[in-house]
Protein backbone atom coordinates (compact mmCIF):
# COMPACT_ATOMS: atom_id res chain seq x y z
CA UNK A 1 0.00 0.00 0.00
CA UNK A 2 1.30 3.37 -0.98
CA UNK A 3 -0.35 5.35 1.79
CA UNK A 4 0.96 8.84 2.10
CA UNK A 5 -0.47 11.82 3.91
CA UNK A 6 -1.35 13.71 0.73
CA UNK A 7 -3.51 10.96 -0.78
CA UNK A 8 -6.95 12.51 -1.13
CA UNK A 9 -8.81 9.34 -2.09
CA UNK A 10 -9.59 7.31 1.02
CA UNK A 11 -12.47 5.14 2.17
CA UNK A 12 -15.53 4.13 0.19
CA UNK A 13 -16.77 6.34 -2.65
CA UNK A 14 -19.52 6.06 -5.24
CA UNK A 15 -19.66 6.29 -9.00
CA UNK A 16 -20.99 9.65 -10.19
CA UNK A 17 -24.03 9.31 -12.47
CA UNK A 18 -25.72 12.20 -14.26
CA UNK A 19 -29.09 11.39 -12.62
CA UNK A 20 -27.53 12.41 -9.31
CA UNK A 21 -25.68 15.57 -10.38
CA UNK A 22 -28.20 18.07 -9.01
CA UNK A 23 -28.77 16.22 -5.78
CA UNK A 24 -25.06 15.88 -5.10
CA UNK A 25 -24.52 19.58 -5.70
CA UNK A 26 -27.50 20.52 -3.51
CA UNK A 27 -27.11 18.01 -0.67
CA UNK A 28 -23.42 17.15 -0.74
CA UNK A 29 -23.83 13.64 0.70
CA UNK A 30 -21.12 12.42 3.05
CA UNK A 31 -19.10 10.23 0.71
CA UNK A 32 -15.33 10.72 0.69
CA UNK A 33 -14.82 10.66 -3.11
CA UNK A 34 -16.49 10.13 -6.45
CA UNK A 35 -15.50 8.19 -9.53
CA UNK A 36 -16.28 9.90 -12.83
CA UNK A 37 -16.86 7.95 -16.05
CA UNK A 38 -14.55 9.62 -18.56
CA UNK A 39 -16.76 8.85 -21.57
CA UNK A 40 -19.64 10.84 -20.10
CA UNK A 41 -17.64 14.06 -20.32
CA UNK A 42 -16.19 14.10 -23.81
CA UNK A 43 -18.75 16.67 -24.93
CA UNK A 44 -17.39 20.05 -26.03
CA UNK A 45 -19.70 21.81 -23.58
CA UNK A 46 -23.11 21.65 -21.95
CA UNK A 47 -24.63 20.87 -18.56
CA UNK A 48 -22.77 17.65 -17.77
CA UNK A 49 -19.41 19.40 -17.85
CA UNK A 50 -20.76 22.43 -16.01
CA UNK A 51 -22.12 20.16 -13.27
CA UNK A 52 -18.85 18.29 -13.03
CA UNK A 53 -17.05 21.60 -12.62
CA UNK A 54 -19.15 22.28 -9.52
CA UNK A 55 -18.98 18.73 -8.19
CA UNK A 56 -15.21 18.66 -8.61
CA UNK A 57 -14.98 21.57 -6.18
CA UNK A 58 -16.84 19.50 -3.58
CA UNK A 59 -15.18 16.07 -3.85
CA UNK A 60 -11.88 14.52 -4.88
CA UNK A 61 -12.41 12.40 -7.99
CA UNK A 62 -10.92 9.59 -10.02
CA UNK A 63 -11.49 9.05 -13.76
CA UNK A 64 -12.61 5.64 -14.97
CA UNK A 65 -12.97 4.81 -18.65
CA UNK A 66 -13.80 2.05 -21.11
CA UNK A 67 -12.33 3.58 -24.26
CA UNK A 68 -8.58 2.89 -24.24
CA UNK A 69 -8.99 -0.53 -25.86
CA UNK A 70 -5.65 -1.48 -24.32
CA UNK A 71 -5.73 -5.05 -25.60
CA UNK A 72 -6.67 -4.20 -29.18
CA UNK A 73 -4.31 -4.94 -32.08
CA UNK A 74 -5.33 -1.61 -33.66
CA UNK A 75 -2.99 1.35 -33.25
CA UNK A 76 -3.70 3.28 -30.05
CA UNK A 77 -6.36 5.95 -30.54
CA UNK A 78 -4.38 9.09 -29.72
CA UNK A 79 -7.35 11.31 -30.44
CA UNK A 80 -9.16 9.57 -27.60
CA UNK A 81 -6.11 9.75 -25.36
CA UNK A 82 -5.69 13.46 -26.06
CA UNK A 83 -9.30 14.07 -25.03
CA UNK A 84 -8.74 12.02 -21.90
CA UNK A 85 -5.61 13.97 -21.11
CA UNK A 86 -7.35 17.31 -21.46
CA UNK A 87 -10.19 16.05 -19.26
CA UNK A 88 -7.60 15.04 -16.66
CA UNK A 89 -5.83 18.40 -16.97
CA UNK A 90 -9.11 20.20 -16.37
CA UNK A 91 -10.54 18.11 -13.53
CA UNK A 92 -7.35 16.82 -11.88
CA UNK A 93 -8.40 13.31 -10.90
CA UNK A 94 -6.32 11.48 -8.34
CA UNK A 95 -5.80 8.74 -10.94
CA UNK A 96 -7.16 7.32 -14.20
CA UNK A 97 -8.20 3.75 -14.85
CA UNK A 98 -9.38 1.53 -17.70
CA UNK A 99 -9.75 -2.19 -18.34
CA UNK A 100 -7.50 -5.06 -19.30
CA UNK A 101 -9.60 -5.76 -22.37
CA UNK A 102 -10.19 -4.72 -25.97
CA UNK A 103 -13.25 -2.98 -27.38
CA UNK A 104 -12.23 -2.47 -31.01
CA UNK A 105 -10.47 -4.05 -33.95
CA UNK A 106 -10.14 -2.93 -37.57
CA UNK A 107 -11.17 0.56 -36.47
CA UNK A 108 -14.61 -0.67 -35.38
CA UNK A 109 -15.76 -0.38 -31.79
CA UNK A 110 -18.08 -2.94 -30.23
CA UNK A 111 -18.44 -0.94 -26.98
CA UNK A 112 -18.10 -4.00 -24.81
CA UNK A 113 -15.04 -5.13 -22.86
CA UNK A 114 -13.80 -8.24 -24.61
CA UNK A 115 -11.27 -10.53 -22.93
CA UNK A 116 -7.76 -11.14 -24.17
CA UNK A 117 -6.37 -14.62 -24.56
CA UNK A 118 -3.98 -15.10 -21.66
CA UNK A 119 -0.93 -15.79 -23.83
CA UNK A 120 2.63 -14.46 -23.88
CA UNK A 121 1.86 -12.78 -27.20
CA UNK A 122 -1.09 -10.87 -25.71
CA UNK A 123 0.90 -10.08 -22.57
CA UNK A 124 3.80 -8.53 -24.52
CA UNK A 125 1.35 -6.62 -26.69
CA UNK A 126 -0.70 -5.11 -23.89
CA UNK A 127 2.37 -4.26 -21.81
CA UNK A 128 3.82 -2.28 -24.73
CA UNK A 129 0.48 -0.47 -25.12
CA UNK A 130 0.24 0.46 -21.45
CA UNK A 131 3.82 1.77 -21.64
CA UNK A 132 2.79 4.00 -24.53
CA UNK A 133 -0.34 5.22 -22.76
CA UNK A 134 1.51 5.98 -19.54
CA UNK A 135 4.20 7.86 -21.49
CA UNK A 136 1.57 9.88 -23.31
CA UNK A 137 -0.45 10.70 -20.21
CA UNK A 138 2.68 11.29 -18.16
CA UNK A 139 1.33 9.24 -15.29
CA UNK A 140 0.76 5.71 -14.13
CA UNK A 141 -2.68 4.27 -14.86
CA UNK A 142 -4.73 1.63 -13.06
CA UNK A 143 -5.93 -1.38 -15.00
CA UNK A 144 -9.04 -3.30 -14.00
CA UNK A 145 -9.69 -7.05 -14.27
CA UNK A 146 -12.86 -7.26 -16.43
CA UNK A 147 -15.77 -9.63 -16.02
CA UNK A 148 -15.66 -12.25 -18.78
CA UNK A 149 -18.08 -14.70 -20.35
CA UNK A 150 -15.67 -16.66 -22.48
CA UNK A 151 -12.15 -18.02 -22.25
CA UNK A 152 -9.85 -18.97 -25.10
CA UNK A 153 -8.50 -22.42 -25.86
CA UNK A 154 -4.95 -21.22 -26.39
CA UNK A 155 -4.54 -19.64 -22.93
CA UNK A 156 -1.05 -20.16 -21.54
CA UNK A 157 -1.68 -18.77 -18.06
CA UNK A 158 -4.53 -17.98 -15.69
CA UNK A 159 -6.24 -14.61 -15.69
CA UNK A 160 -4.86 -13.67 -12.26
CA UNK A 161 -1.33 -14.47 -13.44
CA UNK A 162 -1.98 -12.43 -16.55
CA UNK A 163 -3.18 -9.41 -14.54
CA UNK A 164 -0.17 -9.63 -12.23
CA UNK A 165 2.33 -9.99 -15.10
CA UNK A 166 0.85 -7.07 -17.00
CA UNK A 167 1.02 -4.82 -13.94
CA UNK A 168 4.56 -5.83 -13.01
CA UNK A 169 5.92 -5.61 -16.56
CA UNK A 170 4.31 -2.29 -17.46
CA UNK A 171 4.70 -0.81 -13.97
CA UNK A 172 1.05 0.15 -13.82
CA UNK A 173 -1.30 -0.06 -10.86
CA UNK A 174 -4.32 -2.27 -10.38
CA UNK A 175 -8.00 -1.61 -9.89
CA UNK A 176 -9.21 -4.89 -8.45
CA UNK A 177 -12.88 -5.49 -9.18
CA UNK A 178 -13.94 -7.98 -6.52
CA UNK A 179 -17.29 -8.57 -8.17
CA UNK A 180 -15.63 -9.35 -11.52
CA UNK A 181 -13.29 -11.82 -9.83
CA UNK A 182 -16.31 -13.50 -8.22
CA UNK A 183 -18.29 -13.56 -11.49
CA UNK A 184 -15.34 -14.95 -13.47
CA UNK A 185 -14.56 -17.56 -10.82
CA UNK A 186 -18.13 -18.77 -11.08
CA UNK A 187 -18.29 -18.58 -14.90
CA UNK A 188 -14.97 -20.25 -15.56
CA UNK A 189 -14.76 -22.54 -12.56
CA UNK A 190 -11.85 -21.35 -10.41
CA UNK A 191 -11.44 -20.11 -6.83
CA UNK A 192 -11.67 -16.32 -6.66
CA UNK A 193 -9.12 -16.35 -3.85
CA UNK A 194 -6.49 -17.23 -6.48
CA UNK A 195 -6.57 -13.54 -7.25
CA UNK A 196 -5.74 -12.63 -3.66
CA UNK A 197 -2.69 -14.88 -3.73
CA UNK A 198 -1.51 -13.47 -7.04
CA UNK A 199 -2.08 -9.71 -6.85
CA UNK A 200 0.90 -7.56 -5.85
CA UNK A 201 -0.73 -5.74 -2.90
CA UNK A 202 1.38 -2.60 -3.32
CA UNK A 203 -0.06 -2.04 -6.79
CA UNK A 204 -3.73 -2.38 -5.83
CA UNK A 205 -4.85 1.21 -5.37
CA UNK A 206 -8.60 0.81 -5.80
CA UNK A 207 -11.32 -1.80 -5.40
CA UNK A 208 -14.63 -1.97 -7.26
CA UNK A 209 -17.82 -3.47 -5.86
CA UNK A 210 -21.05 -3.96 -7.80
CA UNK A 211 -24.00 -6.27 -8.24
CA UNK A 212 -24.31 -9.08 -10.78
CA UNK A 213 -27.31 -10.93 -12.18
CA UNK A 214 -27.75 -14.70 -12.08
CA UNK A 215 -28.79 -16.04 -15.49
CA UNK A 216 -29.46 -19.65 -16.45
CA UNK A 217 -25.92 -20.88 -16.82
CA UNK A 218 -23.75 -17.95 -15.88
CA UNK A 219 -23.41 -14.78 -13.82
CA UNK A 220 -23.62 -11.47 -15.66
CA UNK A 221 -22.00 -8.28 -14.42
CA UNK A 222 -24.97 -5.90 -14.72
CA UNK A 223 -23.88 -3.24 -12.19
CA UNK A 224 -27.60 -3.10 -11.62
CA UNK A 225 -28.18 -4.17 -8.01
CA UNK A 226 -26.74 -4.26 -4.53
CA UNK A 227 -23.48 -6.05 -3.87
CA UNK A 228 -24.21 -9.73 -3.26
CA UNK A 229 -23.31 -11.39 0.08
CA UNK A 230 -20.57 -13.69 -1.31
CA UNK A 231 -18.97 -10.66 -2.96
CA UNK A 232 -18.96 -8.86 0.41
CA UNK A 233 -17.24 -11.95 1.84
CA UNK A 234 -14.62 -11.90 -0.88
CA UNK A 235 -14.20 -8.16 -0.28
CA UNK A 236 -13.57 -8.82 3.41
CA UNK A 237 -10.87 -11.34 2.52
CA UNK A 238 -9.43 -8.89 0.02
CA UNK A 239 -8.92 -6.04 2.46
CA UNK A 240 -7.53 -8.46 5.02
CA UNK A 241 -4.93 -9.46 2.45
CA UNK A 242 -4.08 -6.20 0.76
CA UNK A 243 -5.24 -3.56 3.21
CA UNK A 244 -8.04 -0.96 3.42
CA UNK A 245 -7.78 0.12 -0.22
CA UNK A 246 -10.11 2.90 -1.46
CA UNK A 247 -13.30 1.19 -2.56
CA UNK A 248 -15.96 2.21 -5.04
CA UNK A 249 -19.62 1.24 -5.41
CA UNK A 250 -20.48 1.00 -9.13
CA UNK A 251 -24.03 1.12 -10.44
CA UNK A 252 -24.81 1.51 -14.14
CA UNK A 253 -28.20 0.01 -14.98
CA UNK A 254 -31.48 0.63 -13.14
CA UNK A 255 -29.69 3.39 -11.25
CA UNK A 256 -31.35 3.80 -7.84
CA UNK A 257 -31.77 6.80 -5.57
CA UNK A 258 -28.57 8.34 -4.34
CA UNK A 259 -29.26 7.10 -0.78
CA UNK A 260 -29.00 3.49 -1.94
CA UNK A 261 -25.53 4.11 -3.33
CA UNK A 262 -24.48 6.02 -0.24
CA UNK A 263 -25.76 3.19 2.00
CA UNK A 264 -23.75 0.62 0.02
CA UNK A 265 -20.66 2.81 0.33
CA UNK A 266 -21.23 3.10 4.09
CA UNK A 267 -21.24 -0.65 4.31
CA UNK A 268 -17.86 -0.80 2.58
CA UNK A 269 -16.63 2.08 4.74
CA UNK A 270 -17.53 0.12 7.89
CA UNK A 271 -15.55 -2.86 6.64
CA UNK A 272 -12.57 -0.65 5.80
CA UNK A 273 -12.62 1.03 9.22
CA UNK A 274 -12.98 -2.29 11.06
CA UNK A 275 -9.92 -3.46 9.22
CA UNK A 276 -7.95 -0.31 9.97
CA UNK A 277 -8.69 -0.66 13.71
CA UNK A 278 -7.80 -4.34 13.90
CA UNK A 279 -4.61 -3.94 11.87
Amino acid sequence: MSETADVRIRGAGIGLRSQHHQEIIARQPAVPWLEVLSENYYAAGGTALANLEQIRNLYPITLHGVGMSLGSTDPLNFDYLARLKSLADRFEPEWLSDHLAWISVGGEYVHDLLPLPYTQEALDHVVARIDQVQDFLGRRILIENPSTYLSYRDAEMSEWEFVREVAESSDCDILFDVNNAYVNASNHGFAATNYLDALPAARVREIHLAGFAQYDNYLFDTHGERVHPPVWELYQLTIERIGPVPTLIEWDTDIPDLEVLVAEAEKAQTALEAHSCSA
Binding site: T73, Y80, H111, A122, L150, Y152, D154, D216, N217
Partner: protein
Amino acid sequence: MQRLNQLQRRVREAIMAADADGTEVCAASETVNATHGLSSPEHLRIYRRAVTGTFTRALGQLYPVTMRLLGREFFDGMASRYMRITPSHSPDLAEYGSSFAEFIEGFEPAAGLPYLPDVARLEWAWHSAFSAADETALNIDGLGEVPESDRDRLVFALPASAALLASQYPVHRIWQVNQDEWTGPEEVDLDEGAARLIVWRRGYDMRIDPLQDNEWSLLSDLTGNVPMRVLSNKFPDMATLLPHCVEHGWIAGFQLAESTD
Protein backbone atom coordinates in the same frame (compact mmCIF):
# COMPACT_ATOMS: atom_id res chain seq x y z
CA MET B 1 0.62 -10.06 -32.77
CA GLN B 2 -0.73 -11.69 -35.91
CA ARG B 3 -2.43 -14.50 -34.02
CA LEU B 4 -4.00 -12.03 -31.61
CA ASN B 5 -5.19 -9.82 -34.45
CA GLN B 6 -6.75 -12.77 -36.23
CA LEU B 7 -8.49 -13.90 -33.07
CA GLN B 8 -9.87 -10.43 -32.39
CA ARG B 9 -11.22 -10.13 -35.92
CA ARG B 10 -12.93 -13.49 -35.67
CA VAL B 11 -14.50 -12.66 -32.33
CA ARG B 12 -15.68 -9.25 -33.53
CA GLU B 13 -17.24 -10.80 -36.62
CA ALA B 14 -19.00 -13.41 -34.49
CA ILE B 15 -20.40 -10.68 -32.28
CA MET B 16 -21.45 -8.28 -35.03
CA ALA B 17 -22.58 -10.72 -37.76
CA ALA B 18 -26.27 -10.63 -38.64
CA ASP B 19 -26.80 -14.33 -38.05
CA ALA B 20 -26.40 -15.67 -34.51
CA ASP B 21 -25.98 -19.20 -35.92
CA GLY B 22 -23.92 -18.26 -38.96
CA THR B 23 -20.45 -19.19 -40.13
CA GLU B 24 -18.87 -16.26 -38.25
CA VAL B 25 -19.98 -17.65 -34.90
CA CYS B 26 -18.83 -21.17 -35.89
CA ALA B 27 -15.41 -19.89 -36.91
CA ALA B 28 -14.83 -17.98 -33.68
CA SER B 29 -16.17 -20.87 -31.59
CA GLU B 30 -13.06 -22.85 -32.45
CA THR B 31 -11.02 -20.46 -30.31
CA VAL B 32 -13.37 -20.50 -27.31
CA ASN B 33 -13.69 -23.02 -24.48
CA ALA B 34 -16.96 -24.76 -23.68
CA THR B 35 -17.77 -24.83 -19.97
CA HIS B 36 -20.24 -26.49 -17.69
CA GLY B 37 -23.62 -25.87 -19.24
CA LEU B 38 -22.46 -23.55 -22.06
CA SER B 39 -21.12 -24.49 -25.48
CA SER B 40 -18.53 -22.34 -27.23
CA PRO B 41 -21.10 -20.59 -29.47
CA GLU B 42 -23.24 -19.88 -26.40
CA HIS B 43 -20.31 -18.08 -24.78
CA LEU B 44 -20.03 -15.87 -27.86
CA ARG B 45 -23.77 -15.26 -27.91
CA ILE B 46 -23.58 -13.78 -24.41
CA TYR B 47 -21.44 -11.04 -25.95
CA ARG B 48 -23.74 -10.75 -28.96
CA ARG B 49 -26.68 -10.04 -26.66
CA ALA B 50 -24.68 -7.62 -24.50
CA VAL B 51 -23.41 -5.66 -27.49
CA THR B 52 -26.85 -5.53 -29.13
CA GLY B 53 -28.23 -4.26 -25.82
CA THR B 54 -25.54 -1.60 -25.51
CA PHE B 55 -26.17 -0.21 -29.00
CA THR B 56 -29.97 -0.34 -28.88
CA ARG B 57 -30.04 1.27 -25.42
CA ALA B 58 -27.71 4.03 -26.61
CA LEU B 59 -29.91 4.67 -29.67
CA GLY B 60 -33.04 4.56 -27.51
CA GLN B 61 -31.63 7.24 -25.22
CA LEU B 62 -30.66 9.36 -28.19
CA TYR B 63 -33.94 8.89 -30.08
CA PRO B 64 -36.63 8.69 -27.36
CA VAL B 65 -39.45 10.20 -29.46
CA THR B 66 -38.68 7.89 -32.38
CA MET B 67 -38.84 5.02 -29.91
CA ARG B 68 -42.11 6.22 -28.45
CA LEU B 69 -43.70 6.53 -31.88
CA LEU B 70 -42.68 2.99 -32.83
CA GLY B 71 -42.97 1.25 -29.48
CA ARG B 72 -40.02 -0.24 -27.65
CA GLU B 73 -40.04 -3.63 -29.33
CA PHE B 74 -40.25 -2.32 -32.89
CA PHE B 75 -37.60 0.31 -32.14
CA ASP B 76 -35.20 -2.24 -30.64
CA GLY B 77 -35.64 -4.47 -33.67
CA MET B 78 -34.92 -1.56 -36.01
CA ALA B 79 -31.97 -0.38 -33.93
CA SER B 80 -30.43 -3.83 -33.88
CA ARG B 81 -30.68 -4.00 -37.68
CA TYR B 82 -29.00 -0.60 -37.90
CA MET B 83 -26.13 -1.46 -35.55
CA ARG B 84 -25.29 -4.61 -37.51
CA ILE B 85 -24.67 -2.63 -40.70
CA THR B 86 -23.33 0.59 -39.16
CA PRO B 87 -20.01 0.19 -37.36
CA SER B 88 -19.00 2.58 -34.60
CA HIS B 89 -15.72 4.32 -35.31
CA SER B 90 -15.25 6.12 -32.01
CA PRO B 91 -14.71 4.92 -28.46
CA ASP B 92 -17.27 7.56 -27.50
CA LEU B 93 -20.71 5.99 -27.93
CA ALA B 94 -22.28 9.47 -27.85
CA GLU B 95 -20.92 9.98 -31.37
CA TYR B 96 -22.78 6.95 -32.67
CA GLY B 97 -26.05 7.11 -34.58
CA SER B 98 -25.75 10.19 -36.80
CA SER B 99 -27.00 8.27 -39.85
CA PHE B 100 -30.00 6.73 -38.11
CA ALA B 101 -32.49 9.03 -39.89
CA GLU B 102 -31.16 7.98 -43.32
CA PHE B 103 -31.40 4.36 -42.27
CA ILE B 104 -35.03 4.82 -41.16
CA GLU B 105 -35.82 6.36 -44.56
CA GLY B 106 -34.93 3.09 -46.21
CA PHE B 107 -36.38 0.85 -43.51
CA GLU B 108 -39.46 -0.60 -45.20
CA PRO B 109 -41.34 -1.74 -42.04
CA ALA B 110 -41.38 1.88 -40.78
CA ALA B 111 -42.56 3.35 -44.10
CA GLY B 112 -46.05 3.87 -42.65
CA LEU B 113 -44.71 6.77 -40.58
CA PRO B 114 -43.21 9.00 -43.31
CA TYR B 115 -42.35 11.78 -40.83
CA LEU B 116 -40.16 9.45 -38.75
CA PRO B 117 -36.81 10.26 -40.45
CA ASP B 118 -37.34 13.97 -39.79
CA VAL B 119 -38.24 13.29 -36.16
CA ALA B 120 -34.97 11.38 -35.89
CA ARG B 121 -33.12 14.31 -37.50
CA LEU B 122 -34.64 16.61 -34.93
CA GLU B 123 -33.51 14.30 -32.13
CA TRP B 124 -29.96 14.13 -33.50
CA ALA B 125 -29.89 17.95 -33.68
CA TRP B 126 -31.09 18.07 -30.06
CA HIS B 127 -28.44 15.56 -28.98
CA SER B 128 -25.72 17.54 -30.77
CA ALA B 129 -26.85 20.86 -29.32
CA PHE B 130 -26.96 19.40 -25.82
CA SER B 131 -23.26 18.63 -25.84
CA ALA B 132 -22.03 21.41 -28.16
CA ALA B 133 -19.38 23.85 -27.02
CA ASP B 134 -20.48 26.60 -24.64
CA GLU B 135 -20.66 30.04 -26.20
CA THR B 136 -17.81 31.70 -24.40
CA ALA B 137 -16.89 34.43 -26.86
CA LEU B 138 -20.20 36.03 -27.72
CA ASN B 139 -18.94 38.83 -29.90
CA ILE B 140 -22.26 39.97 -31.29
CA ASP B 141 -22.32 42.83 -28.75
CA GLY B 142 -19.66 44.71 -30.69
CA LEU B 143 -21.77 44.80 -33.84
CA GLY B 144 -22.77 48.43 -33.36
CA GLU B 145 -19.14 49.49 -33.35
CA VAL B 146 -18.40 48.17 -36.84
CA PRO B 147 -17.87 51.24 -39.05
CA GLU B 148 -20.34 51.75 -41.88
CA SER B 149 -17.53 51.29 -44.42
CA ASP B 150 -16.91 47.72 -43.20
CA ARG B 151 -20.51 46.59 -42.99
CA ASP B 152 -20.51 44.88 -46.39
CA ARG B 153 -17.76 42.57 -45.17
CA LEU B 154 -19.70 41.30 -42.16
CA VAL B 155 -20.11 37.54 -41.93
CA PHE B 156 -22.36 36.19 -39.19
CA ALA B 157 -22.25 32.96 -37.23
CA LEU B 158 -25.01 30.93 -35.67
CA PRO B 159 -24.46 29.58 -32.14
CA ALA B 160 -22.06 26.61 -32.10
CA SER B 161 -24.95 24.45 -30.94
CA ALA B 162 -27.37 25.44 -33.70
CA ALA B 163 -28.78 23.19 -36.41
CA LEU B 164 -31.43 24.19 -38.97
CA LEU B 165 -34.04 21.66 -39.85
CA ALA B 166 -36.78 21.71 -42.47
CA SER B 167 -39.52 19.15 -42.81
CA GLN B 168 -42.71 18.87 -44.80
CA TYR B 169 -44.31 17.49 -41.62
CA PRO B 170 -45.07 19.28 -38.35
CA VAL B 171 -42.18 17.51 -36.60
CA HIS B 172 -41.93 20.12 -33.87
CA ARG B 173 -45.53 19.40 -32.82
CA ILE B 174 -44.91 15.65 -33.05
CA TRP B 175 -41.85 16.07 -30.86
CA GLN B 176 -43.71 18.26 -28.34
CA VAL B 177 -46.69 15.97 -27.79
CA ASN B 178 -44.33 13.05 -27.23
CA GLN B 179 -42.47 14.64 -24.35
CA ASP B 180 -43.08 13.10 -20.91
CA GLU B 181 -44.19 16.43 -19.48
CA TRP B 182 -46.71 17.14 -22.29
CA THR B 183 -50.26 17.30 -20.90
CA GLY B 184 -52.18 18.71 -23.89
CA PRO B 185 -53.95 16.82 -26.67
CA GLU B 186 -51.77 14.20 -28.31
CA GLU B 187 -53.24 14.37 -31.82
CA VAL B 188 -51.20 16.11 -34.47
CA ASP B 189 -52.70 16.93 -37.84
CA LEU B 190 -50.10 15.91 -40.40
CA ASP B 191 -51.56 18.46 -42.81
CA GLU B 192 -50.76 21.18 -40.30
CA GLY B 193 -47.89 22.04 -42.57
CA ALA B 194 -44.17 22.17 -42.91
CA ALA B 195 -41.77 22.92 -40.09
CA ARG B 196 -38.71 25.11 -40.30
CA LEU B 197 -36.76 24.97 -37.08
CA ILE B 198 -33.60 26.02 -35.37
CA VAL B 199 -32.46 23.61 -32.66
CA TRP B 200 -29.93 25.16 -30.33
CA ARG B 201 -28.87 25.84 -26.77
CA ARG B 202 -29.02 29.21 -25.03
CA GLY B 203 -26.61 28.81 -22.14
CA TYR B 204 -27.73 25.46 -20.77
CA ASP B 205 -31.31 25.93 -21.91
CA MET B 206 -32.28 23.67 -24.83
CA ARG B 207 -34.46 25.32 -27.48
CA ILE B 208 -36.41 24.40 -30.59
CA ASP B 209 -37.64 27.60 -32.25
CA PRO B 210 -39.97 27.62 -35.26
CA LEU B 211 -38.76 30.01 -37.97
CA GLN B 212 -40.64 32.23 -40.44
CA ASP B 213 -39.64 31.88 -44.08
CA ASN B 214 -37.44 34.99 -44.15
CA GLU B 215 -35.76 34.05 -40.86
CA TRP B 216 -35.09 30.59 -42.24
CA SER B 217 -33.63 31.93 -45.49
CA LEU B 218 -31.35 34.35 -43.70
CA LEU B 219 -30.08 31.82 -41.17
CA SER B 220 -29.55 29.25 -43.92
CA ASP B 221 -27.43 31.77 -45.83
CA LEU B 222 -25.45 32.52 -42.70
CA THR B 223 -24.46 28.88 -42.33
CA GLY B 224 -22.89 29.30 -45.79
CA ASN B 225 -20.89 32.36 -44.66
CA VAL B 226 -22.67 34.61 -47.15
CA PRO B 227 -21.40 38.17 -46.53
CA MET B 228 -23.56 41.16 -45.74
CA ARG B 229 -22.95 42.69 -49.18
CA VAL B 230 -24.90 39.83 -50.75
CA LEU B 231 -27.44 39.55 -47.94
CA SER B 232 -28.53 43.20 -48.02
CA ASN B 233 -29.45 42.86 -51.67
CA LYS B 234 -31.31 39.63 -51.10
CA PHE B 235 -33.27 40.68 -48.02
CA PRO B 236 -35.01 44.05 -48.41
CA ASP B 237 -36.05 43.94 -44.73
CA MET B 238 -32.50 43.38 -43.49
CA ALA B 239 -32.56 46.44 -41.25
CA THR B 240 -35.18 44.79 -39.04
CA LEU B 241 -34.59 41.11 -39.83
CA LEU B 242 -30.98 41.05 -38.64
CA PRO B 243 -31.54 42.70 -35.23
CA HIS B 244 -34.60 40.47 -34.80
CA CYS B 245 -32.51 37.30 -35.29
CA VAL B 246 -29.74 38.65 -33.06
CA GLU B 247 -32.29 39.40 -30.35
CA HIS B 248 -33.55 35.82 -30.41
CA GLY B 249 -30.02 34.56 -29.98
CA TRP B 250 -29.98 32.80 -33.35
CA ILE B 251 -26.96 34.82 -34.40
CA ALA B 252 -24.14 34.57 -31.91
CA GLY B 253 -21.18 36.26 -33.51
CA PHE B 254 -19.68 37.99 -36.50
CA GLN B 255 -16.40 38.62 -38.20
CA LEU B 256 -15.16 40.68 -41.09
CA ALA B 257 -14.44 38.79 -44.28
CA GLU B 258 -11.31 39.67 -46.24
CA SER B 259 -12.09 42.48 -48.64
CA THR B 260 -12.61 41.14 -52.15
CA ASP B 261 -12.17 44.50 -53.84
